[in-house]
Symmetry: C2
Subunit: 168 residues, 2 copies
DNA sequence: CCAAAAGTGTTTTAAATACACCCATGC
DNA sequence: GCATGGGTGTATTTAAAACACTTTTGG
């Protein structure tokens, strides 16, 4: 989460390619003690935090936190963040929304780690791979990433537009 | 669907017990050619249409239509209605939201007919009953409804508050 | 006794789960 | 050659799907 208390995330300030999804409109009269504020909350996904900080000076003071360790947030913003997380969790299980949280090419281990950390539970590597593949979510790039150990095959998402897919 | 073109459904005009769920906030600048109107759309569910017409004179002119045969609607209201229907369909399969579309007691056949008509597909009576029962969705009332044929057992929902349940 | 809706089980098929070892590389 | 992360298959369990007849009542 990118939390910039005095400068809420502005959809139009993001670089073009970021995925945006409307979450919920918060309008409880008591959510702000000084005025009746109606906020239409959006969730933006990116694989590259730097793009968010860079797109406007307003966000330069923002900070990233693990979702499980958010600092105290103003107003009902913890509620908003919780809503975003639960939506993201749900959509990971029935859409290809993960395409917007990973770079153009990635290893299977990176995909699995994304799922495991957002869902906050360990996944069986073999069963996970079987289902992802059966869902036709990925395209193999035929390339590998070399590193200190056995090279890992690289993949990209077959589709970037978010769509429903049975998978978990 | 209750369509009252010149008098949009006002949540607070409904009788107390109606289930209300926020759908989406429509804010496309071009949705109304005359002004930039932002609409926070809600879906209300009731088992009793008369309660809606009765709650305010503004709704007296409203009419009910089969969702599959809506008349032409103003602005982007067909989009809103479509959104509502798809949300309802989805929630029938993983929540007990049907509790708000049936009276306090009902027969199994009535429940099945509700599901079949909203989902627009026939359901196998035995498999449907097995899953609904396995989900613990219903409470048997021990009473029956007498009619021209074999009496049908009456049920009510175990919970009225909407909650997630694996079932279809 | 007949028409009409209510109610009930079993078999087959598919999917989810549980589980442990070999492989390829850099150092 | 060893440490490390990458990659693979099978057996079991559970759930979904397909399918047809008997029961109870009113008229």
């Amino acid at each position: 989460l990118f939390a910039a208390p005095s400068a809420p995330l502005e959809p139009h300030g993001l670089t073009g390619s970021a995925y945006l999804e409307q979450l919920f409109t918060f309008g409880d009269p008591s959510r702000d003690p000084l005025a009746h504020v109606v906020s239409v909350a959006y969730m933006a996904l990116t694989d590259d935090p730097a793009r968010v900080s860079a797109c406007s000076s307003k966000y330069a003071s923002g900070k990233w936190y693990e979702v499980t360790a958010l600092p105290p947030l103003a107003y009902d913003h913890a509620l908003v963040a919780g809503y975003a997380l639960s939506r993201l969790r749900a959509k990971l299980t029935y859409t290809n929304i993960a395409a917007h949280l990973l770079p153009a090419s990635f290893t299977f281990a990176e995909l699995e780690e994304l799922y495991a950390s957002v869902l906050e539970r360990p996944l069986d590597r073999r069963n996970f791979r079987r289902r992802i593949m059966a869902a036709g979510l990925l395209r193999s790039l035929g390339r590998t990433r070399r590193g200190p150990h056995r090279p890992a095959s690289l993949y990209s998402f077959a589709q970037r537009s978010v769509q429903m897919i049975e998978m978990l």
